[in-house]
Symmetry: C2
């Protein structure tokens, strides 16, 4: 009789999947990391990660610095830019952003969503002496910002609630709303109104006035927002809100949403 071989189905994971896990860990970290750290974070076999990191590095998908830390490589910038160039929403949004920044002389941001994070995708600085903390590429939990809430406002009640349940994070700032149910209700209300305003949450005395940019299917594919000192915003709120909303509508028109 044959001795039954250990029937633990060794679960191999494809190189492509492992590669993406590595890229994801680095994007999450937002800084270079060692192959060892990456492997530990993923919970993947160390030897596997070492060899795939080596492979990706030789293909310029990753770079290695003098301390043997790896970071995303130039090839990813190439693909990212190619993607952007084709995406006409961003093209139109960027044009309108530049226009609005010059007109209002305030900082304008275009934000998109990536899973549970709001991503600053483009920015125009209208006011030289005013610097915001969030730069291009920065990622913020959806429950922290006006734009974040707008970006899930089109989802049906349950889906929206699940998003906040899954991805809400508590912020250093005590004002942040954290109750998922309340968040999803606010989110839907703001999306329907086509406007979300947030004061002084992500930063000291900074206001953000955001409007949704809707795609052809009615979903929120991006937001456009003014970021400016609280005092300025509150003294002239109607003016800024109407300008931002006008810009959002122009973009929607340009991409054929209406």
């Amino acid at each position: 009789m044959m001795i039954e071989k250990n029937i633990k189905t060794r679960n191999r994971i494809s190189g492509i999947e492992r590669s993406l896990q590595i890229l994801d860990v680095l994007t999450d970290f937002g800084r270079p990391a060692s192959a060892y750290d990456i492997a530990k974070t993923i919970g993947a076999p160390i030897s596997t990660i070492y060899s795939i990191v080596e492979d990706l590095t030789s293909r310029e998908m990753l770079t290695r610095d003098s301390n043997n830390l790896v970071w995303l490589g130039p090839r990813l910038l190439r693909y990212g830019l190619a993607y952007e160039a084709q995406m006409d929403v961003l093209l139109e949004a960027r044009k309108e952003m530049d226009h609005l920044a010059a007109y209002l002389k305030e900082t304008i941001q275009i934000c998109t969503r990536d899973e549970g994070k709001m991503v600053v995708t483009a920015m125009a600085t209208g006011n030289e002496h005013f610097h915001v903390a969030s730069h291009i590429g920065s990622r913020t939990p959806i429950n922290w910002t006006a734009s974040g809430r707008l970006l899930v406002g089109h989802m049906d009640d349950n889906e929206c609630l699940e998003m906040f349940k899954k991805y809400s994070e508590t912020s250093p700032n005590t004002d942040t709303i954290i109750d998922p149910l309340q968040l999803s209700k606010t989110s839907k209300k703001e999306f329907t109104a086509g406007l979300a305003i947030q004061v002084s949450l992500s930063e000291f005395s900074v206001s953000c006035i955001a409007a949704p940019i809707r795609g052809r299917d009615g979903s929120c594919i991006a937001t456009i927002s003014v970021v400016l000192p609280e005092l300025k915003a509150s003294s002239n709120l109607d003016y800024f809100t109407s300008e931002v909303q006008k810009s959002a509508n122009k973009i929607e028109l340009a991409i054929g949403s209406y």
Copy 2:
């Protein structure tokens, strides 16, 4: 006696490599394509490409439209933005670009190099009524533009010559220089001078005044340039050149090149 089996060493290519080939074809095309077309272009087994395209699509590295054409997916934007966010040259360059655009009220571009192409990496439109043809992400052969030539100007004579030999393309515009030797000499001269000017090549009556941004190792890692109507440029050339060069120097200072 055993019949010798056909000893053709079947040369398998890894899934990661095939994935990158697919992404490269799509970036080159600059538009969506079918799996069949991609396979033909690469010269890869059709079944392989179909299955890998399927795999990448399910992982959001690619998207598929209603005609079954595939295009780069949102995940690539994520990685591209993360890469950019970490790259302090671009951060500084972008800041200075915004500043200069507001000051000169002209269009400013930040360009980088990807192999034999010059890539428009960031842009600020200072003048609303003037629209350039080259948008963010657009790729132009290095021999067509002032910025392109600057971006290889730091290479040693032979390397520089090889770049032009390998990557020069003839343009629809008859003015384009195509002799590699002449190009490499011009390139080195311009890089040393810290200035390259090109009139009316890539577009009708449009001038480009570009300055190199040098990294800590002295190589040209990016360029900053003003793009404006020929008439404006020639009537005030000294002013524009000195402003662009000042900006380039400021960026180099900010990233610690000098």
